[in-house]
Structures are given as C-alpha cells and as structure tokens.
C-alpha cells in the first residue's frame, strides 16, 4: 500500500494542537505515534489534553460528488499519483527504474500547474519543481533530492492550500538539496536593466 493510500485509521497522541503561524490557520498535527489498522473509513482521532478530536483525512475533506470533481480534488488525485510514483522510486534499488518513476512525476507537473488556483504556495512549489527538473537536463535526482521532493509533495498533498510563505519555505528546502529552482533565463532579463547595461 502506498503511503498516501486510504483506508487507514491512525490514532495519534499529541501534546496539544497548535494553530500554525500562517494565514491558512490550519492545525499542525505531529505524528509522534501511530498504529495503523485497516478500516473502511479514513479517519484519524487525536487525543489532546484529555479531549479526543476527529481529524478528517484530506481526501475525505475534499470528497467530490460523482461527476463533478473540483479543482482541488483533481489536484489531490494528481498529487497522490505523483507521491505514489516517488514512493516507488524511493523503494527501487534499480536507478533506471527509479528514474522512470520520477519522470512520470515530471510529466505530471504541467497538469498540476493547471490547478495553481488552489493557492500560491501550491503554484510556487510545482513551478519550482518544474524548473528544478529543467535545470537537471535529464540527470536523475540524487537520493537526497528524491527524498526531499517526495516529502515536499506529500506535505503539499496533506495541505494543498499552503500560503506563498509556506511554499517558499519548501522551495528553500529543495534548494538546500542542490536543486536549482529558478528559470535559467531570468538572469538574461536582468541584463536589460538600464543600470546593468551601463555598468558593463
């Protein structure tokens, strides 16, 4: 079963839920302990200072009515496929096979970008991943890079409406692993700045 699969109920004990310091106002859930068991409904219960809260899984939260998938539902589906492919790549001990899974993720980025109205954090992460792959010119991701891309996309799937600030933090994490996340032609644009031209 993939990491992003449904049908898993997790009991998570937390020291307390805290509201994140961002405009999304979502709750941070720290998965300090989990004992997965198969059930029919995706549900997480959280104990916090004696009270038990029910946390709704992301797929349940954005459950789409039949025949009318919303933007976010479609985006979540695509993110799930991407996360599954990355998980397969992580599991594979054959570098070529792993890279083939990663290539599928790369090909999904334009489709994901079409759902950027989900939020600027979403848009900025997908866009940066696209430029990161472009700048690699086909070179496969290193293990470290694969792990960070996988983690960032899983986080994005769990919280698709990330703010721009949160998105940029994830982009900085990609950059820290040596991924070059900027368009290669931005530097050329700056050459057009009158001051730059005069200074040459």
């Amino acid at each position: 079963m993939s990491e992003t699969g449904l049908g898993v109920s997790k009991k998570i004990r937390l020291g307390g839920l805290s509201r994140l310091p961002d405009e999304t106002g979502t709750f941070a859930v720290s998965r300090t302990e989990s004992t997965p068991t198969l059930t029919s409904a995706p549900e997480i219960s959280v104990e916090t200072r004696g009270a038990t809260l029910r946390v709704i899984e992301i797929d349940r939260l954005y459950d789409a009515p039949a025949g009318a998938p919303s933007q976010i539902v479609r985006a979540l589906e695509l993110l799930k496929q991407a996360c599954d492919n990355l998980a397969e790549a992580q599991k594979s001990d054959n570098p070529m096979e792993a890279d083939r899974f990663v290539q599928r993720v790369q090909l999904a980025l334009p489709k994901l970008f079409a759902y950027r109205s989900v939020g600027d954090g979403f848009g900025v992460i997908i866009n940066s991943l696209h430029f990161a792959f472009t700048n690699l010119h086909g070179t496969p991701l290193s293990t470290e890079q694969l792990n960070v891309v996988s983690r960032v996309l899983r986080e994005l799937r769990a919280r698709p409406a990330l703010s721009l600030e949160q998105g940029i933090q994830r982009v900085e994490e990609l950059e820290e692993r040596g991924l070059e996340v900027d368009p290669p032609d931005l530097g050329d644009l700056l050459e057009e700045h009158p001051q730059s031209a005069e200074n040459e």
Binding site: F113, D120, I168, E172, P183, P184, D188, E191, E192
Partner: protein, 266 residues
Amino acid sequence: MSDAYVETTVLTDILLKPKTPKQERAKAALTRYENTLLPVYSIKEWKAGPLNYFAYLHDKLVQTQSLRDTFQALSALRRGSYRQATSIEALTAASTVSKGQAKTYVGLGNSDQEMADSYRLALESLIIRSWRKRRKITTRVVDELPCYTEVEPRVGKDGLLDLTPQQCERDQECCLAPQLRSKPNLLEALRNAIPEDSGRREDQKRRKALKQLIKHPKEIVDRETCRNLGDAIFAFFCPRNAVILTTNLRDHGPLATSIGKKAEKP
C-alpha cells in the same frame, strides 16, 4: 591576502542571475578572499535597483497576465534609449515566432497566460529567497546604515510586490555624513576622479554631491545626496586592506585609484 568589499553588481550577479556564467564567476571570486565584506549600502542599492526591476517585471506580469505583453511593455520603456536592439526585443520576437523555431522560454504552460503565471511565481520566489540570502553570501556584513531599514519584500492583497522602503528615512541626516565630512581631502580626490565634462547624469550628480560635501560641510546630508554619491561611497569606505569587488571597473576603478585603493573584477 586582501579582503573583498562586495559592491552591488557582484551581489546582483550572485543573487539574481541563477545558472549564469556571471553568477559562477562572482561566487568563485568570493572564495579567493579570506574575508568578504558586504556593506549595507550594497544591499540598499541592490533593492532599489535590480531587485526593484524584477519586482516591476513581476507586477507587469500580474497586470497583463501575458508574457508577450510584458516584454512588449519593457521594450516600449527602453525605446529611444541608448540601446535600440535589446535582447528583450529579441525575446519578444522569440515569443511570437512561428512553429518550428526554437522556443526561448522554459516556463510551465502552453498558453501565454500560463507562461506569464509561471514566471510571475518564479519571480516572486526568487525575489523573496534572494532577499533572505543577502546577508549570508559573504563572511561579514559591514557598515550598517542606522538610517536605512531593511524590510523583506512582500506580496500585497492585490498581488503586486511591495519593496518599500527603498531609501533611507526622510527626516534624518545620512548616518554616513560625519565620516564623510571628516576626510575632505578624500572627497576632493574622488571628485577630481570624475571627468568634469562627463555627459553621464550619474557622474554629474556624483560630482555635485561631492562638491556640496566639500564646500558646505555644515549642510545636512540628505538621502538624495547619499544616493547620488553612489560609487564614491564604496571607494571612500572600502577598508585599506580590501579591494572593491565589482563588475563595473569603468566607474569604480578611477574612484578607487584616486585615493590609493583598488577595484577588481570577479
């Protein structure tokens, strides 16, 4: 081994020209020196100049929602200036080329609007990340400017970038004024290094600002004078055991030499 006093152009190459030979050269140059010093004046000039230019591009993309229109707008801005055949015009042309020709842009999306959004997001990300890196690229940040507040660029509710403040505080004398006044002989030498008959507005403003400091030392040095001093500030404040690291040797070279200092290219 001397230290490097990092000037605005090198800061720009490192922070805003990803994946270019200029960035590689600038980064490599920093490793040649034991200490690399970034004056806050460089940060101030960088924010008000190149970073502001990128913010303008970003805002134009927000407004036009078109990569093509944005480049056309930039071309129009430059039309009539000293350089007619700009690469922006070339890029504009490239964005309208017929099928079969090489595509210039590597942004996401198939339509002009999607490409515009891809570059808008890329610019937003680069502007904010580069701001956060600015104080990390050298071994030290020096010559702090108490009259200038460094505020991170932010995206407003209208989607436009806000880069204020770009100047020092208005109702305050330039914090560099006492040090500048204390060495009139250096100011004189710097002024003499600028050709009197230079037709460049930048040179004229710099000569005027230096003259004001020399002839009227008791007058308040305001933020305009500080800004007009520009390159002269680097020559004046560069430590004796350091070289000014700049891609603009044409302007910095004579100024530095006039007071026994040196400017080097990355």
